[in-house]
């Protein structure tokens, strides 16, 4: 702990920025999970698998498109759409027949989908890890008072608020968003108003899974793309959704902020035990707000 005395303002700022860029990924993934949880009431354990598929697809598409800046931009566009397409097939083929079942059945079902997706990824991409370099204009670092800060992280800091604004617009200003908010609370009455709830669910599920794919695509240049990244993210995403309030997108933002920042600051304060910090924060939040910080739709 004697390192604590040496923490400078610049190092703290740097870690906060790193934490915020991590927050971006966590927010994008967990807001999608929260959306599906809130409207469809499905605890989608396979959400993390879609994130992993998004990352692997980004690698493959970027490579196919010739790499470089063009390859990256094409992959960032196409890979999340590919994930959305997969989720659409899964929803129409399987999930839409199961909405009436109890949560435990749905949980088990999505768990089995997660196992299937995990094996499919192994079949297609093998068990080696892949790595993708960021395009040239996003490589390298800035210097913040002597500390390096990666350009790519700055890019993430710009994408995060854009996605948040997009989600705000979607849920508050579009018809499908308003219908989804209504269906989250009373799906039966939405049906009685002449709206085919089944298609609303399909749309929301696809949007939620698109966000998982987008998270995977954005994270691809920052870490090894590997088997098992589905498990790590799904645990984090569920914790974030739980401390934020089930089904509340802004809760997911708040939860991701808490998770990302405590993680980053933990590294600074006590590197050997850094991993404990976000989980300790989750415990503290749940002690005081067992139902999450913001209003849950459950």
């Amino acid at each position: 702990m004697d390192g604590a005395a040496n923490i400078t303002a610049a190092a703290l700022l740097q870690q906060i920025l790193v934490g915020l860029s991590r927050t971006t990924i966590l927010f994008i993934v967990s807001s999608g999970l929260s959306l599906v949880l809130g409207v469809l009431r499905i605890p989608n354990v396979a959400h993390g698998s879609l994130y992993m598929i998004g990352a692997f697809l980004t690698y493959s598409v970027a490579t196919l498109a010739g790499g470089g800046t063009v390859g990256f931009i094409v992959a960032l566009t196409v890979a999340p759409l590919g994930v959305a397409l997969i989720s659409f097939v899964v929803e129409r083929g399987l999930f839409c027949h199961l909405y009436e079942r109890e949560h435990l059945m749905l949980l088990l079902f999505t768990f089995s989908i997660m196992l299937v997706f995990g094996d499919l990824v192994k079949l297609i991409w093998g068990s080696d890890y892949r790595s993708l370099t960021a395009p040239l204009f996003l490589q390298g670092s800035f210097s913040i008072q002597g500390f390096p800060f990666p350009r790519y992280n700055l890019f993430l800091l710009l994408v995060g608020p854009l996605v948040a604004a997009g989600l705000w617009f979607l849920t508050n200003k579009t018809k499908i968003g308003k219908i989804a908010r209504a269906a989250a609370v009373d799906r039966e009455m939405v049906g009685a108003m002449g709206i085919n709830v089944s298609w609303v669910f399909a749309a929301v599920f696809v949007i939620g899974c698109y966000l998982a794919g987008l998270g995977g695509a954005l994270v691809a240049p920052t870490q090894n793309i590997t088997q098992g990244m589905d498990h790590t993210i799904i645990i984090e995403a569920f914790l974030i959704v739980i401390i934020g309030g089930l089904g509340n997108i802004w809760g997911a933002l708040l939860g991701a902020l808490i998770f990302g920042l405590t993680d980053a600051i933990g590294i600074l304060i006590w590197p050997q035990f850094a991993i404990v910090f976000p989980y300790a924060a989750v415990v503290v939040v749940l002690l005081f707000r067992p139902k999450g910080l913001l209003k849950s739709t459950w």
Binding site: A192, M193, G194, I195, N196
Partner: protein, 231 residues
């Protein structure tokens, strides 16, 4: 307009409706009278497809519709106002109406006409439905059903729990809806309201239709009223 024939409805294993039959002709207001728990709401839910009957037939505008999903019935012209109102609490009044707008038949209901019909709602357009008073929620629940441009309205205990002054306003509005050509099946336990509004009535008790008659007959038949309606 509507013909219900020998339906039996269950909640899980419990048998709620026994051989219920009723019919509503175009342009009528027909009331379904009964005490709490008599099966009024279950009848309404059965017709709307929310709790489909296990056996029996339902015909709407001449087409068999038992087993159809609620959204299809709504598109065919069936409107539903539940007894507990169930407005979309997280949405504003305007949003509630906006998402309910269906225009499969041009009956001429849109947000402007609904606001002309319920001026009180226009004033609170941007308020969240969860913060409305009981009377306002009831108006919104009816307004929302009108936005689907129905020909036939299932109106489940609209006056329940409302102040007498609001009840009489609501009665006037329901009569105006009838004049505009809307057919209504009205579930009520308030006999006075039902007699003022309806042309004919059915009395339901313990899931069985016990009596069927015109408004005058209901008014005069003291024994029936004592047996099935008095608390």
């Amino acid at each position: 307009m509507l013909r219900v024939e020998h339906i039996h409805t269950y909640y899980g294993l419990s048998h709620i409706l026994f051989d219920v039959s009723l019919d509503v002709a175009s342009g009528e207001i027909v009331c379904l009278l009964g005490r709490n728990g008599a099966g009024k709401s279950t009848t309404m839910r059965s017709i709307m497809g929310l709790t489909p009957p296990k056996t029996g037939q339902i015909e709407f505008k001449g087409a068999s519709c038992a087993g159809l999903k609620p959204h299809l019935l709504a598109r065919m012209g069936m409107g539903y106002v539940p007894d507990d109102r169930r407005v979309f609490a997280d949405l504003t009044v305007g949003e509630n109406l906006d998402i309910s707008f269906r225009n499969y038949r041009q009956n001429g209901w849109d947000i402007d006409r609904v606001y002309t019909f319920f001026p009180a709602l226009k004033a609170i357009d941007r308020r969240r439905a969860g913060f409305l008073s009981g009377g306002e929620q009831q108006m919104l629940s009816i307004a929302r059903a009108l936005m689907t441009n129905p020909e036939f309205l299932l109106l489940d205990e609209p006056t329940e729990g409302l102040a007498p002054l609001i009840v009489s306003t609501l009665e006037e509005q329901i009569l105006r809806l009838k004049e505009s050509g809307l057919t209504v099946l009205l579930a009520e336990q308030n006999l006075a309201v039902a007699l003022r509004l309806s042309d004919r009535g059915y009395i339901i008790d313990n899931g069985v239709i016990r009596y069927h008659g015109m408004q005058e007959e209901l008014k005069q038949n003291e024994e029936i009223r004592r047996k099935y309606l008095s608390v």
